[in-house]
Assembly symmetry: C2
Homo-oligomer: 193 residues x 2
């Protein structure tokens, strides 16, 4: 088999959760879009919706981390790279009609006070993102505590940018954030004049 039923279920679930949220996504619809029989869902995920969501979030979270890392790796200096990451996010928003954004955020806010197992999954994903970015900034000679602060700023601004730009259907907030976050990173560099 090229792509198994199980993988199609995870992918369709991740897309549906990103665009419609957790409570707004129906399992029926996910199986239809996966071209999977409804019963197969409970064959592969005996834990039902929560187990499927946990796997979809982890899969999408790892993919998004790779995507951001690739954009950051493409630029030689870290300040330009940060600006490019926000520009890439803005471009993706425009290209997809403001549908493709963070695959974790909507669900994370929904489950933060209502579903403890899924809340822990989203916490692990965000923490892994922050760890990777902290190491990257620290590799530029920035002190660890400062590198962590910049990583938090990067992720929070990106998430806030998705929120504001999707609501307004304009990329201006995301573009403005690219400038201010890049400046903050610039100011933290040891070689900063």
């Amino acid at each position: 088999m090229a792509v198994g039923t199980r993988e199609r279920l995870v992918e369709a679930a991740a897309t549906s959760f990103m665009r419609q949220g957790y409570a707004g996504s129906g399992l029926k619809q996910i199986t239809v879009e996966s071209r999977a029989p409804f019963g197969s869902l409970y064959h592969f995920f005996p834990g039902g919706k929560v187990e499927l969501a946990a796997e979809a979030l982890r899969w999408a979270g790892a993919g998004y981390a790779q995507l951001v890392a690739a954009v950051l790796d493409a630029s030689p200096d870290v300040v330009t790279a940060v600006g490019d990451a926000f520009a890439a996010a803005a471009h993706t928003l425009e290209a997809t009609g403001y549908a493709d954004a963070c695959p974790i955020a909507t669900v994370a806010l929904e489950v933060a006070s209502t579903n403890e197992p899924l809340r822990e999954v989203t916490a692990e994903i965000f923490e892994s993102w922050l760890d990777g970015l902290t190491a990257r900034f620290a590799g530029e000679g920035i002190a660890p505590e400062r590198a962590r602060e910049l990583a938090v700023l990067f992720v929070a601004a990106l998430e806030g940018g998705f929120l504001l730009s999707r609501a307004a259907r304009r990329v201006e907030p995301m573009e403005a954030l690219g400038r201010t976050v890049a400046e903050a990173v610039q100011a933290a560099l040891p070689a900063h004049a």
Copy 2:
């Protein structure tokens, strides 16, 4: 009457949407918590869930803007004020078990690609917040374009801070953002050395 049925419905809806999201909130539950007969909901809001949500979002959005403005007004200098706002948000998160955060964000992400009327309501609320903050920063002698960028940074970082802190159930991200955003405002002040 002290507080009318209609106002209780709006308040209960706003709280439910903030904690459980739009799709995750049931009208039945909202009427129970409002101590309102179910039929009264459609008496006051013939447009049903969407009309109730639009009014609840606008009401909560205006209230949150007032809350933030009060915190910012309490401090004489704007840099301290920005730090205080993030500290206040962190304190509220801890005091409410990470339940009381932004009353708009969860719904805004849910409806951004699925409900055009409500998406427009969330866009108007965010834009009113940004307008108020832009005017405040401009009042400090910061150029309009720069003031707008700082307003976007403030709101995006606050929203990203709610997301990261609620997921992790730790206030460290929100506190770190208070420091970095305050620094960004400091650097933009005309009197900045």
